[in-house]
């Protein structure tokens, strides 16, 4: 069983998709490391792949660790390095 997960884009990632989102297909209980590889496959730009290395995946509640299971039903975002203020 696999599922479609839509990843919302922020910051510098926005330039890589006009919809500010990229959908990936994941096994039912995939972890974040698996999501990261699937997401990388969708990127055609080398700068985008480099940015991905220093970016984090998060739900609306919290940043996810690499070993965490990608939660079903939750909105998932890719967060490049931050610089508020």
């Amino acid at each position: 069983m696999s599922r479609e997960v839509e990843i919302k884009l922020f910051g510098a990632f926005r330039q890589y998709s006009p919809e500010a989102a990229i959908a990936v297909s994941l096994p039912e209980s995939a972890d974040v490391a698996t999501l990261r590889r699937a997401f990388a496959d969708k990127l055609e730009d080398d700068n985008a792949r480099a940015l991905l290395q220093s970016s984090a995946f998060a739900t609306d509640e919290a940043v996810l660790g690499e070993g965490d299971t990608v939660p079903a039903g939750a909105r998932i975002s890719i967060l490049p390095p931050v610089c508020g203020g």
């Binding site: 922020f10 910051g11 510098a12 984090a56 919290a62 975002s77 931050v82 508020g84 203020g85």
Partner: protein
């Protein structure tokens, strides 16, 4: 409510921040305001576009305030608002304020909020330069605090 956090797409109010950060028992308040600078790393800046993740931002802001409240006192009042959208040079991007019985707590907690916000809140800025170019500013990689 002693903690107020928000993301806004309109002008930030320092008056509202200082009104919130006050109490008959509070002898001190410290307020920080971050503004768009005309120069960054040698490049002339005309404006900055702030992108942010509103829901997660508010969660992170609130978490940071709670940490400060635990560290410096349950009675303290906190205010943290961050702007989104395109801002001209001089406009306020963030207003942070804390009030407390004595001044040391206000200064320390306010500084804590500023530093933690910069390192942990999902906010990104794209600088628009006078020469017409624009660039996303490099930042701090987030990590899981689970």
């Amino acid at each position: 409510m002693t903690i107020h956090v928000a993301t806004k797409d309109e002008v930030l109010s320092t008056e509202a921040a200082l009104a919130h950060c006050s109490a008959p028992g509070h002898g001190a308040a410290d307020l920080f305001i971050g503004r768009v600078r005309d120069l960054n790393q040698g490049r002339q800046v005309r404006a900055v576009s702030y992108d942010l993740h509103p829901v997660l931002c508010n969660n992170v802001f609130r978490e940071i305030c709670k940490e400060a409240r635990q560290e410096w006192g349950e009675s303290l009042h906190f205010w943290l608002e961050h702007r989104q959208g395109r801002l001209a040079v001089g406009e306020a991007s963030v207003v942070i304020a804390v009030s407390s019985p004595h001044r040391d707590e206000s200064f320390r907690a306010c500084r804590y909020l500023v530093e933690q916000m910069k390192h942990r809140a999902p906010i990104w800025k794209q600088e628009h330069y006078v020469d017409g170019d624009s660039e996303w500013v490099k930042g701090h990689a987030l990590c899981s605090h689970g």
